[in-house]
Subunit: 617 residues, 2 copies
Amino acid sequence: MEQVDTTERLRQLRQLMSKHKVDIYIVPSEDAHSSEYIAPTDARREFICGFTGSAGTAIVTHDKAALATDGRYFNQASKQLDDNWTLLKQGLQDVPTWQEWTVEQAEDGKAVGVDPTTITAPEGKKLAEKIKKKGGKDLVGVAANLVDEVWGSKKPARPNEPVKVLGMEYAGKTFGDKIEELRKELDKKKAAGFVVSMLDEIAWLFNLRGSDIPYNPVFFSYAVVTPTTATLYVDESKLEEKVKGHLEGVNIRPYDAIFTDLTTLSSSEPATNGSTESKAPKRKYLVSTKASWALHQALGGEEKVDEVRSPVGDSKAVKNETELEGMRQCHIRDGAALSEFFAWLEHELVQKGTSLDEVQAADKLEEIRSKRDKFVGLSFDTISSTGPNAAVIHYKPEPGNCSTIDPKKVYLCDSGAQYLDGTTDTTRTLHFGEPTEMEREAYTLVLKGNIALELAVFPKGTSGFALDTLARQFLWASGLEYRHGTGHGVGSYLNVHEGPIGIGTRVQYSEVPLSIGNVISDEPGYYEDGNFGIRIENIVMVKEVQTKHKFGDKPYLGFEHVTMTPMCRKLIDTSMLTERERDWLNAYHKEVLEKTGGFFKDDQRTREWLERECAPY
Amino acid sequence: MEQVDTTERLRQLRQLMSKHKVDIYIVPSEDAHSSEYIAPTDARREFICGFTGSAGTAIVTHDKAALATDGRYFNQASKQLDDNWTLLKQGLQDVPTWQEWTVEQAEDGKAVGVDPTTITAPEGKKLAEKIKKKGGKDLVGVAANLVDEVWGSKKPARPNEPVKVLGMEYAGKTFGDKIEELRKELDKKKAAGFVVSMLDEIAWLFNLRGSDIPYNPVFFSYAVVTPTTATLYVDESKLEEKVKGHLEGVNIRPYDAIFTDLTTLSSSEPATNGSTESKAPKRKYLVSTKASWALHQALGGEEKVDEVRSPVGDSKAVKNETELEGMRQCHIRDGAALSEFFAWLEHELVQKGTSLDEVQAADKLEEIRSKRDKFVGLSFDTISSTGPNAAVIHYKPEPGNCSTIDPKKVYLCDSGAQYLDGTTDTTRTLHFGEPTEMEREAYTLVLKGNIALELAVFPKGTSGFALDTLARQFLWASGLEYRHGTGHGVGSYLNVHEGPIGIGTRVQYSEVPLSIGNVISDEPGYYEDGNFGIRIENIVMVKEVQTKHKFGDKPYLGFEHVTMTPMCRKLIDTSMLTERERDWLNAYHKEVLEKTGGFFKDDQRTREWLERECAPY
């Protein structure tokens, strides 16, 4: 992984900080829509510090610079940061959070600056409070982005790709119906309207897809829905006539007009849907807790706004029958592509002795996937990693700067694709030679956790926080652990990571119960720095299950797996499995064979590989 | 369970509400120290509504009255409330929280009143904010307690029992050392001092014990510790000369003087421990998040106070070696008492055919316990419950108003005692006849959960929130569930329930990792209203465990059980147990027999009972 010399960039940034009278400057990794994956034009945090991971916050003072990131990226960040930077390993004992570190730097009356479009309102308000409480001056929203000024003419332009309509055969519900449901929520909450700020929520709400951000079929936009109106803020040049036709009844306004429009809207009397009751409290606009501080300020701040977990995000996470069936179908096609790739890879490495690097393998996988029906593109950078690279949790092999795959070490492949009928995300860890005892032990413990989570039954109302331990329990009992979450929500031909659900130790997951129709990953792992990494990821969908009893008259829920490619036979130590786990494994492999075998009628190599891997124990 | 006619009490309260210009009045169940168990003088919520459970909040408007309580008490509350009251079942879907209900009543500009000593500052502030946000007027701290005024001369006096010194052979650490450790915390947090508001924290900090609150060896007091001073607010008449001698160096001030003293303290320049740096931010007083709104206001509010999880509570929860050994020892004596009682009960009910009611059984258990070495008293009202009463989670049999024990139904006994060397709390569910299939199934599922939790291994940093599901998983898989937490912290000859740790779905448990030295209960259950109830409770202590590997160089933790009385042989369906569970059960029973058998050299009946129940499978 390359290092960038950030000395000159930091010098210029510090000059601008002085000019804008801020002593400390925060550079979050998010764009104005709180996106996890961003367009190159928004990669300010990467530009300023050189670290390319998807999560992290940079903080620059006049004499220090720190990058805070989580366990997935400790390894990568320590390689990519130059000597100007200190790495704050988030989550480790005695390491301050980036907020604590910032507050500490600000203690003696210093001012902290941030571009208010790049930080959420709750985050901004909380940080401002802490800074002031601990003797700092304040958090200042600096309208111009100072990193952009340093970046100058070399900064990539904002993408302006065309927007497409997603047909009913994939969306399963009209956008009119979705908006009506949102209006019911607004009515329940007595709200004047909802400002939709997250790009995937807008794409879902209007049954549109774009390609402004790599891997995420979204387009730069905002939307405002009131009891009587729906307005989409998007550059009109992105919309063909067909799309305009689809959007009948929706007002179209320029992307940048959102800020001035919100200021106007919030100062006028909000629509009350015909009610003339004067005693009723004035209706407020709702924004998501992920909306930017800048949006919040445009609406008039605290007094004018109610922050809620996005009702659009909540609805989007509950997939309808069309979307669920799409998920099943695209995972069958995708699972077959993976098996074809694994069989090819084994053949090349073992039978032919070909030397292949990680990128060549990833490219072959993309080539195979791209031939599948309804394929649109990948859903994230393929993690194709050999041996020690597999321990870099979000490893990204670069052409010309990656390793040759060593058939005597583990090979971890975490990859996924966008199909018109759904989004896939699968991790398999393989071995083409003789795994070590530790590799088999770790793989089997991870597999046991993966199975335990999938087999969990839980009453309605249970969150992913409560289930996380089920996936970790076997590793823990052996003194092993992984430093990432266990599951993330997955979009329907949308972002591969989506909220609000999740399985993990983040406390926000405890606030969102899993519901029938949720689609989520099940991906425990184990990583030994410098040695090897294991991860097993299946996508599962929440469904109601039948239980012997039914206490409290509420539904009991469980999971249905959709991922369809086998586990690695060589890495499983069956003596560590219970009878129930072995039964699960046999049933799973039988299903994989049944559902994907048909793809390989004329492909003897893959058929043989699949039959061998899926043979019953 | 008796009902009280609350019509006249409510009429008078509403009159007082009008006089004090509040439209809604909140009556929490806590005293001024946020105590769970309270003295009769503080039982205002019980007085106003008739419900006697340990948790719940009453809210009275001019035309409505509501009592909110949790799943443990749904059954009991619905029996005890008269027609004036609506029961708000907290935690059920679509039932508003008591705060939401209050806010709703206040919506059109109404004022809500509360005695500010009976609500914590965070709770008060949050509620005030919500009331105002939703169109209510405000939350008003009414200095006089309106329920006390209705209660009048019939209200019991505040107890004033003598305070005793707890010797080093039980406390294991001098109060001087404890105060020095607290001062280190104050220094780390740059605080002017800590106001100790919880009664058990004060008793622990000063190595004192009292008896002002039934079952809880505490005494009415406050304390303030600064870098240079320690002040105990307690009525001096409670302190014998010996106690005053023990308290050398501690200022003694009257109990009620705390409010005026805090006002004076916070307006003067706080002690800075010799530092003369004028640029340093002014040091603030720390209060626990459990401190009352009244204390908070006396200190000068927001600007002058930092709210923290109590550092005294955190230290108290980590028992020292002397306390841990005391826990082991008192549980052996207590377990032997329980076995003697169960053997007696079986003999009376089955062999002799004696008719015994629940209170007679509880009295016999107390009589047996009271003969044990170092016995001080019970640690809570014994739950002695037969058949359907066992489904009332916090059932309290009353003399003359309880059931005769039916040997053909389950008998659930949840009880504990205070000993000089520790506090016990044990639940066993027994059957003296032929259990139904469902009773055996439920008992065995509960037992499997109890064992799974005890056998859990987890890395340092894991909270009781993350472990809760382990105890529930087997019940869930069968469509069963229990509506209470799985574990509470236990004091050392102190309150039987103590924070901040806990095992359960309350989100605050996620904030406190379990630590070596914590003592906590492991008590899953299952309850069928009107039919039967099952609960199995052991006390366990957190210890470091040896694991095969040790990822991340942090300790892996597990539990050591201290409870020493057998599980119920008749209720276990061994076909539902794994080999590992059967091994655990055999090892546990062997240990119970070894550690408590010696008590019954001259007691053939108990010896035979114990040997039968502890026989290996």
